[in-house]
C-alpha cells in the first residue's frame, strides 16, 4: 500500500510514518501517538486509532489480532473545548 497515504487526517500522519514508528520500537497505540502525533488532533483518534491498531497487529510478531492491542488512554477533554469554558468563563 502507498506509504504516502494519510492515515491520521487531523495531524496529517502518513501510513509510512506509522510503519516507521512501529519499526523503531513503538508497540502500543500510545507509542505510535507519542512518536507521530497520530490520534492527537481534533477527533482524538476516533478515525485513525483502529487503523493504527491494524498496522500494529500486522507488524508485531506477538499480536495476531487487532482487538488484542491496548487502546490509547482516554483523557479529558474528550471533545474540543474552549479554554474559557475550562476556566469557567461562560
Amino acid at each position: 500500500m502507498d506509504h504516502n497515504l494519510i492515515v491520521c487526517r487531523c495531524e496529517e500522519v502518513t501510513l509510512g510514518e506509522i510503519i516507521q514508528a512501529v519499526e523503531e520500537g513503538a508497540s502500543t497505540v500510545s507509542g505510535v501517538k507519542k512518536r507521530t502525533r497520530a490520534c492527537m488532533g481534533m477527533c482524538q483518534g476516533r478515525v485513525c486509532q483502529p487503523l493504527i491498531k491494524a498496522v500494529l497487529a500486522q507488524k508485531m510478531e506477538s499480536a495476531g489480532n487487532e482487538n488484542e492491542i491496548a487502546p490509547s488512554t482516554v483523557r479529558p477533554p474528550a471533545r474540543s473545548v474552549l479554554l474559557g469554558e475550562i476556566a469557567g468563563e461562560n
Binding site: 502507498d2 497515504l5 487487532e66 482487538n67 477533554p77 469554558e85
Partner: protein, 422 residues
C-alpha cells in the same frame, strides 16, 4: 446545574430512556452534540419487507421527531449543540458548546452510540469523499444529494442500502466496490470474507438487498455465498455490485473527479488497474464500532467483544455498570439497529428508576417487562450487523456474573481496560 438523571446522547436509546424516566416523575436532562435530537435515526430511511404492508417504511427522521415530542411533552430537557468533554467521580459532567459549565447528576446514562470505522483510500482527503453515514444524513435528513455521479466503496448491508437510497434520491451510482486490499482494510478487502459475511446476513435477514439477490438466484438464499463466489458482478436495483473490483485511488485537482479501480484476486491480491471512471463524490463504508470513550472517563471497565463490534462497557442485566449510578444503552454496548437501541433505552430507564427511586418490586416488574421487549426487538431485527452478537452478549453476562460472585479476583472496577480469554 443539577439534574436527577443526565443522559448523554439523544439517539433512539437516550430518548427512549428519557421518556420512561420523565413519565416516572424524574427530572431528566438529555445532552447531544448535534443540533437536532435523533442521533443515527435522523439518517435512516428503508423498507422492511418482513413487516405488513403499510408498516414497511422506516423513516428515522419522523421516528426521532415523535420521540422528541414525547420526551418534551413529558418534561424532558434536551440540550442540543452541547458536548460532554469530561466526567468526574460523583457523576459530575463537564459541558461545552451551546451550554457550558458543570452538571451533577443523581444517575447517568451513557448512550453515545457508535462511530464509523474509517477506510483510507489514496485520495480520501479530497473534498467530495465522505463516509456512508454522512451520505445518509445528506440524502435522507437534509435532502441534499452528495453528488451527481457517486461511487460507493465497501461491500456490506449498510453500504448497499445507502447506495439504494442514493439512487432513489436521483443520484447516479456508478457502482459498489471493494476497498483497496492491504493492511488497513484487512478482511474488508478480501472477496471471500466479504461474500461470506454478506451471505450470512442474507440467511438471517431477507431485507431489500436479499430480495434483490433472491430475484437473481430464484428465491433461495441458502447457498447464496457459494453462488456469489462464482460471480464477479451482480446488480442490485440496477446498481453494479463489484465483488472482485476495488477502488484503489481517488483522483482530482481540488475535489473528487474520478476513481481508478483494479481487479482483486480470490485471496485479496490487487490485479491490473482499469481505466478511470468519472465521479464527483465517493462514499466509503467500513462498518461501525461502539463509542465508549466517555465510559472510560467515567471509570467503567471496558471489555473487548469483537462479536459486538469492539470494546464495550461491562454491564449487567439492568444496563448498570460497576460504577454506582452509571448506566449504558444503545450502540455503546454493541452494534445493533434502532429498534433494539430503543428497547435497551427503556430497559436502562427501568434500571435507573429502580436505582434512584428504590422502586423495589415495582422496579423489578418494569425491568422484566423491558427485558422481554428487548428480546423481542432482537428477534424481529431486520438487519443483524454481527451474526455472532448473541455469543458476545453471553460473554458480557458471564463476566458480569463472575464479577458479582468474586469481586476480589474478578473484573477490576477501575478504568483500566483488559481483555479476557473467553
Amino acid at each position: 446545574m443539577k439534574t436527577d438523571v443526565a443522559i448523554v446522547g439523544a439517539g433512539p436509546a437516550g430518548l427512549s430512556a428519557a421518556v420512561f424516566l420523565a413519565q416516572k416523575g424524574l427530572g431528566v436532562t438529555v445532552l447531544d452534540e448535534y443540533f437536532i435530537p435523533g442521533g443515527r435515526l435522523l439518517g435512516q430511511l428503508f423498507e422492511n419487507p418482513q413487516k405488513p404492508p403499510g408498516e414497511r417504511l422506516w423513516i428515522g427522521r419522523d421516528i426521532a421527531g415523535k420521540l422528541k415530542e414525547e420526551a418534551c411533552g413529558s418534561g424532558v430537557k434536551i440540550l442540543t449543540g452541547t458536548s460532554v468533554w469530561n466526567i468526574a467521580p460523583g457523576r459530575r459532567l463537564y459541558l461545552s458548546g451551546a451550554v457550558s459549565g458543570e452538571m451533577e447528576a443523581g444517575a447517568l446514562l451513557l448512550a453515545t452510540g457508535a462511530a464509523e470505522r474509517a477506510v483510507p483510500v489514496p485520495g480520501w482527503t479530497l473534498p467530495g469523499v465522505m463516509s456512508v453515514g454522512a451520505a445518509q444524513v445528506f440524502t435522507n435528513l437534509h435532502r441534499v444529494r452528495p453528488g451527481k455521479r457517486v461511487a460507493v466503496v465497501g461491500i456490506d448491508p449498510l453500504a448497499i442500502s445507502v447506495a439504494g437510497e442514493l439512487k432513489k434520491a436521483g443520484v447516479e451510482v456508478v457502482g459498489i466496490y471493494l476497498p483497496p486490499p492491504g493492511v488497513l482494510t484487512g478482511r474488508l478487502g478480501m472477496p471471500p470474507e466479504v461474500i461470506g459475511s454478506l451471505s450470512r446476513s442474507a440467511d438471517m435477514s431477507p431485507g431489500a438487498l436479499l430480495k434483490a439477490a433472491a430475484g437473481i438466484f430464484g428465491g433461495r438464499y441458502r447457498d447464496l455465498g457459494a453462488r456469489l463466489c462464482g460471480l464477479s458482478t451482480m446488480k442490485i436495483w440496477g446498481i453494479p455490485l463489484h465483488l472482485r473490483r476495488a477502488v484503489v485511488r481517488i483522483e482530482g485537482e481540488d475535489s473528487v473527479e474520478r476513481i481508478v479501480t483494479a481487479g482483486v484476486s480470490h485471496c485479496g491480491r490487487q490485479q491490473e488497474e482499469c481505466s478511470a471512471i468519472d465521479v464527483d463524490a465517493v462514499c466509503i463504508s467500513g462498518g461501525l464500532y461502539p463509542l465508549a470513550e466517555l465510559a472510560s472517563l467515567a471509570g467503567c471497565p471496558l471489555v473487548d467483544v469483537p462479536q459486538l463490534g469492539g470494546r464495550v462497557p461491562l454491564h449487567g442485566p439492568a444496563m448498570e455498570t460497576p460504577r454506582a449510578g452509571v448506566f449504558v444503552a444503545g450502540n455503546i454496548t454493541g452494534i445493533e439497529g434502532a429498534p433494539v437501541a430503543m428497547a435497551q433505552g427503556t430497559l436502562a430507564g427501568a434500571g435507573i428508576w429502580s436505582y434512584l427511586a428504590k422502586a423495589g418490586k415495582a422496579g423489578e416488574k418494569e425491568l422484566e417487562l423491558a427485558a422481554s421487549r428487548l428480546e423481542r426487538a432482537r428477534e424481529e431485527a431486520p438487519i443483524k450487523f454481527f451474526q455472532e452478537a448473541p455469543e458476545g452478549r453471553k460473554k458480557i453476562s458471564l463476566l458480569w456474573a463472575g464479577r458479582k460472585q468474586n469481586p476480589e479476583g474478578g473484573v477490576p472496577d477501575g478504568p483500566q481496560s483488559y481483555s479476557v480469554p473467553l
